[in-house]
């Protein structure tokens, strides 16, 4: 089972690696670039953030609504400390220092969320993480001195990477893809380590794991820390993609979007996050062209509804069910 997952993941990764080239063959140059950066690239970036949720949900059994906020903490840390951002809040750091600092801040924020939510489960965990996310969102939105309020901080253009301009669509795409690939295989590795196995044990039966002598609480908090790290990487990429960050990027709408991506893809495996975010990004961008421009949100809603109705475990579940129907061989 595991080796097959790895095989499929490698195939998917290979396909994404050659996608920009395939798009160039199929579309005019500017459209190929648009698809590369603004459909695939954006989808992958938000897929990373969604994967931090999927990781917690799949292996820990926690649905956290704070992940977009945690990603935003990374984005804001980057925007506050990096040189060239407008307005200048603290500044003084290059991207080489500001990006690790941003990811560290997100990891710490993830640990804090985990520590606050450590005793809650299910709907209560959902509520407490949502409350945290909205509290921080409102704080950022009304604070001018550090976060520049509603307008946020702009002009976070990204670094030059080995002489390549980050704003180039292909540079951005391959950095996003490389980050996503590393994090994805990192998660697959992590869940097979003792830490990951204990985490899954806690998901299935916390009391039994505690009886075996494992400290349940610290494991849960550490899982949120890992998710914070993942979300932080996504947050940094999303901020550079958007040339800045504003409270709207981490508000209720954005929070719910990340949840929708995860649910569309399926919470059964980390790959679902990327499947979901690509589908979501596609409809978010093109539903206005496919359907009435003044009512395109209806289409997004209907697509979501249909997927969840037909397959409660998302597109991944639908795929598994299809395989079962066709061959009935090794259904998971």
């Amino acid at each position: 089972m595991h080796s097959r997952v790895l095989l499929w993941s490698a195939l998917g990764l290979a396909l994404l690696l050659v996608m920009p080239w395939l798009l160039l063959q199929a579309l005019p140059q500017n459209q190929a670039q648009f698809w590369t950066a603004n459909i695939l690239g954006r989808g992958i970036v938000f897929g990373i953030i969604a994967m931090s949720l999927t990781f917690l949900a799949t292996y820990g059994g926690f649905i956290s609504l704070a992940q977009m906020m945690v990603a935003g903490v990374a984005g804001y840390t980057l925007a506050i400390f990096v040189d060239g951002a407008v307005p200048r809040i603290a500044g003084g750091l290059g991207y080489g220092l500001a990006i690790p600092l941003a990811i560290l801040a997100a990891t710490v924020m993830g640990l804090i969320v985990g520590a606050i939510a450590v005793r809650t489960r299910d709907i209560y965990l959902l509520m407490i993480t949502l409350a945290l996310a909205m509290g921080i969102f409102r704080f950022i939105e009304t604070n001018i001195a550090w976060f520049n309020g509603y307008e946020g901080i702009r002009n976070v253009v990204g670094p030059d990477v080995f002489g390549f301009d980050f704003r180039n669509a292909y540079v951005f795409y391959y950095i996003a893809l490389g980050t996503a690939g590393a994090l994805y295989f990192g998660v697959l590795y992590l869940v097979r380590t003792p830490f990951g196995l204990v985490l899954q044990g806690i998901r299935d039966n916390p009391r039994r794991v505690a009886a075996l002598g494992y400290a349940v609480g610290p494991h849960r908090i550490a899982a949120f820390g890992v998710a914070g790290f993942i979300a932080g990487c996504g947050g940094v990429l999303a901020t550079i993609y958007n040339i800045g960050i504003s409270p709207g990027s981490i508000g209720l709408g954005a929070t719910v979007n990340v949840l929708i991506m995860s649910v569309i893809g399926g919470l059964g495996h980390p790959i679902g996050a990327f499947v979901g975010s690509l589908v979501f990004t596609f409809f978010d961008t093109f539903s206005a062209s496919i359907y009435d421009r003044e009512r395109f949100n209806t289409l997004i809603g209907v697509v979501f509804l249909v997927i969840v109705l037909l397959s409660p475990d998302g597109l991944l579940g639908a795929g598994a069910r299809l395989r079962k129907m066709l061959g009935g061989r090794d259904a998971p």
């Binding site: 199929a26 500017n30 459209q31 670039q33 648009f34 698809w35 950066a37 603004n38 954006r42 409102r138 939105e141 009304t142 001018i144 309020g149 509603y150 307008e151 946020g152 702009r154 002009n155 704003r167 958007n242 040339i243 800045g244 960050i245 504003s246 409270p247 709207g248 990027s249 508000g251 709408g253 596609f282 961008t285 093109f286 206005a288 062209s289 496919i290 421009r293 003044e294 395109f296 949100n297």
Partner: protein, 421 residues
């Protein structure tokens, strides 16, 4: 994915087939429209597109011998959403010109985005933050509507001198556009000797209860409301229900048909409200009366207002700038649009209100501002202009260096400068 791709390709193929046999016709100009069809300013965004569509229908979608293809996109007043939609318009839909966006923070984001583009032009829709063009302007971002600070020209003096009010409470949204409006009001009002208390609330606020309680307890002489959209509606509804009875002064998107056309208790307290801005429902000007008549004929039965909203007129004014320039260059966008952008910068025309419009060196409009009162006419509330100032520029006709020295409008810099020595 593949479905849309093949459909798109098929459509483009069909289009090419249809186009080839026609005699050497020039390719259409692709004009992208970006307005808020979602979020707090959805009604304003819809009206913006109404006025654009009406004008394009009038000229039969043709200017300078070229057809105009209008491609609509929608945002929700958030900067990052506006940016994503603008990218789609430029890169995927391959538009030549973007007309939009509607709100302040979006305008600043698109101004920054326009810097990264060559051979494309962004012409503002209705956004009115001052700094979009005043500080760090972008060479391919044009704005033919006046900004939020300009819209307040004359109002502060009217409140202090004519109405004799010495201190006011100001309620306003906590972002770029209301900062510009409050700034414009305070510059005159504080300089004349007035005192202000500010109550800020983030865009999208629905509960103003605590602010209204404080205002009703205080003994200020008047209340200045610089909200708009659903926030403005929520504030005025709650103010009316709380029995608020102070004289009302309003920002430019408050005293507007997008507000007066909504049903609710707010309409009762809004009669008598004083405001200023680039339009009014009733202006003593024949070209405006004709425009309103055309708008009502076209849209009254299709969800339109009794008379066009401020956002609708701003979109129409900016479209008029584009069309004037396109006519001047005969639809020629070659040479990275250099000739077209020169024509835009030099364009002079009349806005639907009858006001003369021209641009300054920052590609920002200089035009007329009206001071208005909400009156009950023909059985409905209407905004009636009773005073008009011609040719107001972005620094309120004060020296630019002195105006810039006042700093950028913000919550911490609301423009309250006491009388100079």
């Amino acid at each position: 994915m593949t479905f849309s791709l093949s459909r798109r390709t098929a459509l483009m193929g069909t289009g090419a087939l249809l186009a080839t046999p026609a005699f050497a016709q020039r390719a259409p100009i692709r004009l992208g429209g970006l307005a808020t069809l979602e979020g707090p300013f959805a009604t304003g965004g819809q009206d913006g597109f109404r006025c654009v569509q009406m004008e394009l229908e009038r000229i039969n979608n043709t200017v300078g011998g070229r057809r105009i293809e209008f491609i609509r996109e929608s945002s929700n007043a958030q900067a990052d959403v506006a940016l994503a939609r603008a990218r789609k318009l430029i890169e995927q839909d391959n538009v030549d010109i973007i007309l939009g966006p509607l709100s302040g923070a979006e305008g600043i984001a698109l101004r920054d985005y326009s810097r990264t583009l060559t051979g494309k032009t962004i012409v503002n829709g209705s956004s009115g933050a001052a700094d979009t063009t005043l500080r760090n302007p972008s060479t391919n971002f044009f704005r033919f509507n006046t900004d939020g600070t300009q819209w307040m020209a004359g109002l502060g003096n009217h409140v202090f001198r004519t109405m004799g009010i010495r201190d006011v409470a100001i309620v306003a949204g906590d972002y770029a556009f209301p900062y510009a409006q409050v700034f414009g009001f305070n510059i005159e009002f504080c300089r004349a000797g007035g005192r202000t208390t500010h109550y800020w609330a983030p865009l999208g606020t629905t509960d103003f209860g605590s602010q209204i309680a404080q205002i009703n307890r205080s003994d200020v002489g008047a209340l200045v409301v610089v909200h708009g959209g659903t926030d403005g509606l929520a504030f005025m509804t709650q103010y009316a229900q709380a029995g608020g009875n102070k004289p009302l002064i309003a920002g430019s998107i408050m005293a507007d048909q997008s507000m007066l056309s909504a049903r609710g208790p707010h309409r009762r307290v809004m009669v008598g409200m004083i405001s200023s801005g680039p339009i009014a429902d009733v202006i003593d000007d024949q070209s405006w009366r004709d425009y309103v008549e055309r708008y009502r004929r076209r849209w009254l039965n299709e969800g339109g207002f009794q008379s066009p909203s401020i956002h609708g007129v701003n979109y129409a004014t900016n479209l008029a700038g584009i069309l004037t320039a396109l006519a001047a260059v005969d639809g020629d966008l070659s040479g990275n649009q250099a000739a077209f952008q020169r024509a835009l910068a030099a364009a002079r025309f009349k806005a639907p209100t009858g006001a003369d419009v021209r641009l300054d060196h920052n590609r920002q409009a200089i035009s007329d501002i009206f001071i208005n009162r909400v009156e009950e006419r023909d059985g409905r509330a209407q905004v009636v202009a009773f005073s008009r100032a011609n040719g107001i520029n972005q620094t309120l006709n004060t020296p630019e260096a002195a105006f810039l020295a006042l700093g950028s409008p913000s919550r911490d810099n609301p423009g309250c400068v006491p009388a100079a020595t």
